[in-house]
């Protein structure tokens, strides 16, 4: 059985449980679900197009050479740069990361990409600056980039 069906089953069961407890809240939840789906799906399709473009134009050897295990620390660094400027919503990060991994990128590089793509964002910078100020924003983003580097190295070591 597909794992997706199992998740759907669990999700529907939780919805049922929620409905039994509070109908109004469940209606809100369903509305929120549609909204999330509506926001996420088009972005996902766009990321799939990017994946298709890589499939069509970028060779596996190229990905291996910049993000593969042999690329080592530099590969993690490149992956972090890609993650930092990628304009992905979190749900799109994992399919893209998995795609890169299938095409030869190391776990360390993927970890670097995933963390920076979720935690550092060019699109959210203005809001972070406005709400928390220059010093916080600069420090948080730089520290995130630096710590991700170490965690990516550790993950590369831990995972086979």
């Amino acid at each position: 059985m597909r794992a997706g069906y199992l998740y759907l089953l669990i999700a529907v069961m939780l919805l049922g449980l929620s409905f039994l407890k509070d109908k109004q809240k469940t209606r809100e939840a369903v509305k929120a679900t549609f909204k999330i789906f509506y926001v996420v799906l088009p972005v996902l399709v766009f990321v799939f197009v990017l994946m298709g473009l890589i499939q069509a134009y970028v060779s596996r050897e190229f990905i291996v050479s910049i993000l593969g295990q042999k690329s080592g620390l530099l590969g993690i660094f490149y992956a972090e740069i890609i993650g930092s400027i990628a304009l992905f919503l979190p749900p799109a990060v994992f399919p893209f990361g998995g795609y890169l991994h299938d095409n030869g990128a190391s776990y360390g590089a993927i970890a670097g990409f995933v963390f920076t793509a979720i935690l550092i964002g060019v699109t959210t910078l203005p809001l972070e600056l406005k709400l928390f100020g220059k010093r916080f924003t600069l420090a948080r983003n730089l520290l995130t980039f630096g710590l991700t580097f170490f965690i990516a190295i550790l993950m590369e070591g831990v995972l086979p």
Binding site: A3, G4, L14, F37, F48, Y99
Partner: protein, 179 residues
Amino acid sequence: MKRMLKNDAFWFLSLSVLIILVVYGFNAGKGVIVAKTVYDTFFEVLDIIVAVSIFIGLFQVWVKPQTIVKLLGKGSGLKGFVLVCTFPILMGGSLFTVFPLLKALREKGARIGAIASFITAWGGKAPLLPLESKFLGWPFALVRIGFVIIFAFVMGFLMDWVGENTEKIKQEKSFLVDL
């Protein structure tokens, strides 16, 4: 707001179609490769995306931002620190939804280390585990979430250290001030 979202969806989808058409126009074979990748991946993840959307929708309704602020405000000191490094892992949403919530926490007296830990822990993204495990495998997903907790702890300490060098936050003794 709704209008903007509508335009966003429209924009992403039409750009996607346009790219496929342009690639197809230059080289039919490559165009088919792109379209096939989109088609295959789309149906590979559709059920998971629906399930994940339901999880996040339920979480949003049952765990209101006010609840989170209250919960995190309750435990000061070590307990608050542990909470702030673990609890946000369960949350969905994007940084756009998390930042305003944290602004409220900050205004209620949370230290900047707590704010930074929260953001980092939020990067754990447990609601997306079905997606992550599907594309990167369970070992990667679980090891990553384990590291997120360590990441969040270290981040909090470092950011507090950064903060102490400029801001006068000495009067705040607890990690998160009681609300």
